[in-house]
């Protein structure tokens, strides 16, 4: 059986602008490695909750400081050594347009580094890279240029999906993406969108942000003054309704299932994202979600298990962890094993974990450029 971790990152800190959460810690530890040594020392003193938090943050920072993507991937692969054939969806990130300054290494360096790593040994079949697309890149003067830039990465350099992160400051129904969606729909190329409100979001000025192409009064509020709140305009799952109305066969994954808070809290203004994602999944069989990052909170497990048993959506939920971002909250090995044990205890008829980590990703990833 082939298992898939459908949501991982191996880009190092050099591809992230300095003004993004986590990077100052990494830079500090890079400048003063003694800080990492000291924090590891204090973490081992075992003071209770604080020490494990410190240990995780230190581990997260030291992974991100890896000087190459190969180094980081090797740390991820180690977790799955005993699992047999495991493949990893590697989500690249282009953070150059998010208004947080230029990262040290540009996006092209990241992509070419990944291609060269895959050309070595067993990496090609293990790493399944998704190409990050940000329609605001200055060279994308129109949608045609954007698609012409995307195609060679799939046709010649082995990319097998597209990653988007609207929270960085663009709408998923941006006009420049129309031609990309037409192409992706025709080729059945999967597109994975970040769909949770987190700490990585657009950092630029919000004054005079243009009205979106499709203004949805229930979810769009352009008067918000803080980037953290404003990101909901870009990321809200109902935005994808517009995308799917235009391209109903487009294969998309709304990652993170909206986040652990949306999954576990019910009531006014709570759970709306989860409901919206789930409704889209019921309506469109080509809409998926993954439980990456969200699974660090065990209180989400019963809801995840309920959906995994529900024929209406059970084939559209993917296993992913959000390595190594999730390391600061829970260790990769722990969160994976806890979920696996929980799901396996839920049903004797069907192995729910295998469905989520082996069968569903196979369908999601199948396209003109990949099949497993």
């Amino acid at each position: 059986m082939i298992y898939f971790n459908s949501h991982t990152h191996i880009f190092s800190a050099q591809y992230v602008p300095n003004n993004v959460v986590g990077v100052p810690i990494m830079n500090f530890m890079s400048r003063y490695p003694i800080a990492a040594t000291l924090s590891r020392f204090f973490a081992r003193l075992r003071f209770g909750a604080i020490d494990s938090q410190l240990e995780r943050v230190t581990k997260f920072a030291s992974i991100g400081l890896g000087t190459s993507q190969e180094t980081i991937f090797n740390t991820l692969e180690e977790y799955y050594n005993s699992w047999g054939d495991v493949r990893f969806v590697i989500l690249t990130m282009d953070m150059e347009q998010m208004g947080a300054g230029k990262p040290m290494g540009n996006y092209r360096t990241q992509l070419e580094e990944l291609v060269r790593i895959r050309a070595r040994g067993h990496y090609a079949n293990k790493l399944l890279p998704f190409l990050f697309v940000d329609p605001r890149r200055p060279e994308f003067v129109n949608g045609k240029v954007l698609v012409e830039w995307v195609k060679p990465w799939f046709e010649r350099y082995g990319f097998c999906g597209i990653k988007m992160y609207p929270a960085l400051g663009y709408y998923p129904f941006d006009e420049k993406l129309d031609e990309l969606y037409d192409w992706a729909e025709a080729k059945q190329v999967p597109i994975l969108y970040h769909c949770i409100q987190g700490v990585i979001h657009y950092r630029g000025s919000l004054n005079g942000f243009p009205k979106p192409r499709h203004f949805i009064p229930e979810i769009h509020n352009l008067n918000l003054k803080e980037g953290k709140a404003f990101q909901a305009n870009f990321t809200h799952p109902l935005n994808y309704k517009k995308v799917l109305e235009r391209n109903p066969r487009l294969k998309i994954c709304l990652a993170h299932y909206g986040g652990e808070e949306e999954l576990t809290r019910r009531g006014p203004n709570k759970g709306a994202w989860y409901d919206a994602i789930r409704n889209l999944m019921v309506e469109y069989k080509n809409v998926y979600t993954d439980i990456s990052f969200t699974l660090h909170d065990q209180s989400t497990f019963p809801i995840i298990a309920k959906d995994m048993k529900d024929p209406a959506v059970q084939q559209q939920v993917l296993f992913g962890t959000d390595y190594y971002v999730v390391q600061k909250d829970k260790d990769e090995g722990d969160l994976r094993d806890e979920l696996r044990a929980f799901l396996n205890a839920q049903s004797e008829e069907r192995n729910l974990f295998d469905l989520m980590a082996a069968e569903n990703p196979r369908t999601f990833l199948r396209s003109s450029f990949y099949s497993a």
Binding site: T67, S68, T109
Partner: protein, 330 residues
């Protein structure tokens, strides 16, 4: 005149001993924070991180020739030999304009990899590298780095001459950057100078005054200084402080500390020095005033301590020679 010379000799000896401490601390701190490695990385990054093309500094650091010089995955090497740098850079640029092709084979359900073919791979080792290197430069977008690489490759018609050109450029660049590094080191030495001045209460103004007033102390220090110079001349004529091994560094710091303790120097914290000095009511006021009045002396001491042990040794030897030459006339 002899009094002034003796004061200078005693002063230089005191600052030499404490400078060993300061230089040693700075050197140890540099090792702990890997300052040299970070500085080298920043210097290479300044030139080779080309935002109009790629971060070639990253490619250099992940090239196996340089990557293997690292102590850990998360650190950078402290030193890269010019020849190693040149080999890595030439290999990166010659490879740069062609990516390996990776296409999915649906029948076999796996990826096929087609590696780029270079003229230098097909001929005997070394042939065609200049052609590939120039092709790599040609494929780059116009940028400062492209211009630099083009200039470096001028006149190179084979691998040996191209490597020689790169080595020459790298050595020249490293010479220039070493000046920036030394400037940074001076700031660090001043910082450690302040720490030492405060911890040991090394007050330059107070030391001069004490040395001038106390003949017995001065004579003892001058005699010790003569012995010290005779004993350590060979060492200071040879290796500089920053090139000596770490265990010797620690040993020298320990010796300097012991010697400074044994000599009963006009340094250190004594409550009686701080109180009953200015005839002010209350001990706290006295102490505060003592501390405020000491600030200029500490700052001068910190600056003097950052001057470096080898420089203080030169001053010491020179004034001992002057003293020897003027003594008979007296």
């Amino acid at each position: 005149m002899p009094v002034l010379v003796d004061v200078i000799i005693s002063f230089a000896l005191i600052f030499l001993l404490f400078s060993i401490l300061v230089s040693g601390m700075a050197e140890l701190w540099q090792l702990i924070i890997r300052k040299r490695a970070l500085f080298l990385h920043d210097a290479i990054n300044d030139v080779f991180n080309d935002h109009l093309n790629k971060n070639y500094a990253h490619l250099i650091y992940t090239h196996p020739l340089v990557d293997r010089l690292k102590e850990k995955n998360t650190t950078y090497p402290h030193y890269i030999a010019a020849g190693t740098f040149a080999d890595a850079l030439i290999d990166i640029i010659r490879n740069d304009h062609q990516l390996p092709e990776i296409t999915f084979n649906h029948e076999r359900k796996s990826y096929d990899i087609k590696h780029a073919v270079y003229s230098s791979d097909q001929a005997k080792a070394g042939d065609g590298i200049v052609t590939d290197f120039n092709a790599g430069i040609h494929a780059m977008a116009e940028s400062d780095l492209k211009q630099l690489l083009r200039t470096v490759s001028f006149g190179a018609d084979d691998y040996a001459s191209l490597k020689r050109n790169v080595v020459q450029w790298f050595n020249d660049y490293m010479s220039a950057t070493s000046t920036w590094y030394k400037r940074g080191m001076t700031k660090m030495l001043f910082g450690f100078g302040i720490i030492v001045a405060l911890v040991f209460n090394v007050n330059a103004i107070h030391i001069v005054k004490e040395l001038y007033d106390q003949k017995v102390m001065r004579d003892e220090l001058v005699n010790y200084a003569k012995e010290y110079v005779a004993k350590n001349k060979e060492f200071y004529d040879g290796e500089k402080m920053q090139n000596i091994p770490i265990d010797l560094q620690v040993q020298r710091i320990q010796e300097a500390y012991k010697e400074s303790r044994a000599l009963n120097l006009p340094v250190g914290w004594r409550l009686k020095d701080m109180t009953n000095r200015y005839d002010l009511p209350g001990m706290t006021t006295d102490i505060i005033l003592y501390l405020l009045m000491s600030i200029p002396g500490w700052l001068i001491a910190a600056a003097a301590l950052s001057y470096g042990a080898d420089n203080w040794f030169n001053i010491l030897s020179r004034f001992i020679n002057i003293r020897t030459s003027i003594k008979p006339k007296e």
